[in-house]
Subunit: 247 residues, 2 copies
Amino acid sequence: MIQFLIGADGGGTGTRVRLATADGTELGQGQAGPSGLAHGIGKAWAAIGSAIDAACAAAGIMRPANAAMALGAGLAGVHNKEWAAQFTAANPGFSALRLATDGFTTLMGAHGGAPGCIVALGTGSVGEALLADGTHIEVGGWGFPAGDEASGAWLGLRAINHVEQVLDGRVPSSDFASAVIDTLGGSRDAIQVWLGGATQTAYASLAPVVIRHAQTDATARSFLVEAGHQVALMANALDKTGRLPLA
Amino acid sequence: MIQFLIGADGGGTGTRVRLATADGTELGQGQAGPSGLAHGIGKAWAAIGSAIDAACAAAGIMRPANAAMALGAGLAGVHNKEWAAQFTAANPGFSALRLATDGFTTLMGAHGGAPGCIVALGTGSVGEALLADGTHIEVGGWGFPAGDEASGAWLGLRAINHVEQVLDGRVPSSDFASAVIDTLGGSRDAIQVWLGGATQTAYASLAPVVIRHAQTDATARSFLVEAGHQVALMANALDKTGRLPLA
């Protein structure tokens, strides 16, 4: 019997869950590491489990049996139907499981289920719209490294490419490049080792350095300008009328 | 005792070896799959072993014991000093092992050891120069996805990003986009599954589609024009005098 409801939001950087009773009364919230499916199905389930543990601790209750809980999860990577099927097949006993993209759950949350658009920028990026006639439109959300325009990982990829060009003497150096180099360990060898193990999440960790230097550095600013252009392309494709509320 | 010399050239798409006697007389050549270190140390050694088997078969001799062979290998990924150390530590018994980047062996081969420059474009890309005073300069070769400008994987990454924008209605479609979509399985779902498992080598497999459409499609052409610009940046950084022979 379902006694508790869990809502989970998982991307490339972290997982947040809310725990509620079956009538919808919120009891507590919890967080854990990434549960985007690109990181692996087992890791996604483990992160959701840890975030539920944290939510139960915050609520001051013992963790219920999985069979007593219904889980609604909005996760990055659900566009990949193979990964979505593997995630569902690995359900560790939740009584009910509803799986959606993290973009769709953001859309529902932003407009309370009413028609509207969102462009969500985090480790990845995605645009979603619910039209007045009930049509659901998605733009972007194709994942790293070929998609996710304007996301944290997309900015980080550009930042480190710039640093590579600076270190090789292909383009002039700058305070921005020096800040990225320092963040990555300070030397060519350290950067090459960092690159060898770098994930989408690691690239996204460089985005704050880009944003911090956008006021003073032309290269950092050009990345943000291009990101803005990409967001505009996404928003226009979501709502060609420009009349839906955008959050 | 060293009775045979093996020269190996390994990147993200394949491995080529030459087998010679200790006095340098070539006996045969062989090929195998990728041995770039980004694919894993075990895979690199396995590919080199398979290519040696093929070279011995081509030469019509039994494969010698590893202890009877000296191996000189130029491999993609050697810039990562951790990977290089792991590769060397996993030497399965070759009497001598000399490890270099595939860019450096290309440079040596292109100019016979004399001063000169190369910009090598394959799955990845790298520029190398040997100056008249013996100085060795490297530019690029930072690997996928943050570097390797103008390489096959770099072109493929741009091709699939274009297709994502087309499928979402962000930019207009084209015969070029349709050709890439067909190559990737023909549907949005197939592309999302393809992306979930795509490696540098898989991205590079799209480069021929870009090149084939560069005459007729403005987007495909713009990728090649940008690749040319990136090669020029690399060549200028290698040899600011412009006087060294470039191969």
